[in-house]
Amino acid sequence: MYLEYIKSALSSIRSNKGRSFLTMLGIIIGIAAVLTVLIIGDGMKATVNGELDSIGATSITVSMDSTKTDKKFSPELLNDIEENIDGIYGVSPSQNMGGSFIVRDNLTYDAYISAGFAAMEKSGQVTIVHGRYFSKSDVDEAKKVIVLSQTTAKKIFGYENVVGQSVQLDAYGPVVEFQVVGVRKDMTLDTAFASFSDSPTLMADAPYTSICDAYGIASDNIESFSIYLEGENKEEVLSKTRSVVENVMGLRGENAVKISSSLGFDSTTDSILNIITSVVAIIAAISLLVGGIGVMNIMTVSVTERTREIGIRKSLGARTSSILTQFLAEAAILTFTGGMIGMLLGITISYIICKVIDFSFYVNPMLVLIVVAISTAIGLFFGIYPAKRAAKLDPIEALRTE
């Protein structure tokens, strides 16, 4: 019997093609918009994550919200974290001493020095080509040792393997001698900095403690530090870090600790995507709502136009539920068809966009199911009022109408 309702609904939709299509438009646009954004979002995540995997390990950067507190981190806290949280390679301050000068043979070079712990070697970007990276004991004892990038070594010494040489570091006044213990490959970061100035910036890494010594700054003044992750446990490490920091520093509940993933599909990108998704979701929801109201409207018109038909059906023995089902089926088929067209449109648009901006394209089968469910549900929901009206018609009155 239900097959009959569907057949009759289809023939009624077919006999009103133009009107049916216009009615579906809201649903089509709504579904197409949601799908496009969701598919592109998925593609963007997949693409970014894929690129990150090729870069290597990810890290988390922790800093303080200076509007909430002026507390700074201490090296002890960093050691605490390193010892107490599993699944990490290590922890290091991420202090950059810009505008430093390396001096040799009375020539001065602009330099950019990363001051950190030995764990910085594990950041996933450091590749030693000569000598070694500075060690934990170098840090503990504040040894004046330094690791130069290949470019820096070549620029200052004219050749690459400069292990055993020394450079002077001009720490805004005092000039301190540092022993070169290693040379590392240039990092993507170096190149990034280099692109900002005409001459390539010279990069070097040195123990945090030694730099503090040289510059005469207190070592428990760490403004931010990095945690190098072993694997895919970012969320867990993030929440543990937050609780350790808040406990040790007495900042519980103040929301003063800022944590971000410096590499990786970090929360900023994620939240931008989420904002875009919610905006489009709202637009889509409105469009679906308007579409639904359109369906309600057209079904009401259809019930009025077909009052006599309803009277005839009732006189022939149609029950209230038969009429209800017939009109609900018509509304649901209308929105379902709209949903399908919207889906094809959305998939096509997102496919084209993904190809053009080179994102990976993938349609989650769940999305298809959800579209089917939502579009049908809209029809049933907005169809119920006109369908009830039809079902409740008095057969005598209905038969009297022209």
């Binding site: 038909e309 005839i312 059906r313 006189s315 022939l316 023995g317 029950r319 539920s321 005598i396 038969l399």
Partner: protein, 232 residues
């Protein structure tokens, strides 16, 4: 003769209170199985109201209606629908075919609501259309047929599922005399095949075709007699 329809002291009052209209005023009536009855009366006399009552489209303000001995005067809408589907074949003045459906589909409707399977439904409907001489018009839509043909489709629809009562309200009211004759002869044939037929009309010429003539005026039965001129 077994009682098929029994109406006891039925009133139908529209707009109760000041401007009330007594469309049926204490009407009592018994119709037996296999009768051929014409209900005749002037316009506004209450014929359609009686027909709606007999057809279980309406319920009386007071009084009782027994169909096959079952009280059908105070049923829910769905129960009434079921009784109509099972017991009554309607033939209306305005044919009342659904314009978007073919002749065959129109005839199938009551069978759909009865839950008859597709194959059997088709067979019954085709047989009904054959018996009214429309075997060549099955796939035609109502607007592709003449008035007489449309009314024949409506008759096929009324008899397809073999209900005990055929209820015709001014069946020839919209037809030319040629088609009218055709329709009346079909209705007579159906009576001769054993069906109970009730025709409602204002036309004495039509009423004279029936075996029993009931005259109503102002909602009351004023005469109820066997037709002396009836010819088989």
């Amino acid at each position: 003769m077994k009682k098929l329809v029994e109406i006891k002291d039925v009133c139908k009052i529209y707009n109760p209170g000041e401007n009330e209209v007594r469309a049926l005023d204490h009407v009592s009536l018994i119709i037996g199985e296999g009768e051929f009855v014409a209900i005749i009366g002037q316009s506004g006399s209450g014929k359609s109201t009686l027909m709606n009552m007999l057809g279980c489209l309406d319920t009386p303000t007071s009084g009782k209606y027994f169909l096959h001995g079952q009280d059908v005067s105070h049923m829910t809408d769905d129960e009434q629908s079921d009784v109509r589907n099972r017991e009554i074949g309607f033939i209306f003045q305005g044919f009342n075919l659904i314009p978007s459906l073919t002749a065959l589909e129109n005839v199938e409707l009551p069978l759909i609501y009865r839950g008859v399977g597709k194959k059997e439904r088709e067979n019954l409907s085709k047989a009904a259309l054959n018996s009214v001489g429309l075997s060549k018009r099955m796939t035609h839509k109502p607007n592709e047929m003449s008035g007489g043909q449309q009314q024949r489709v409506a008759i096929a629809r009324a008899i397809a599922q073999a209900p005990p009562i055929l209820l015709a309200d001014e069946p020839t009211g919209n037809l030319d005399s040629g088609s009218s004759k055709e329709i009346i002869s079909i209705i007579k044939r159906l009576y001769n095949e054993g069906r109970t037929v009730i025709i409602i009309t204002h036309d004495p010429g039509i009423a004279k075709q029936a075996k029993r003539i009931i005259t109503i005026s102002d909602g009351k039965i004023v005469s109820d007699m066997m037709n002396p001129d009836y010819v088989d």
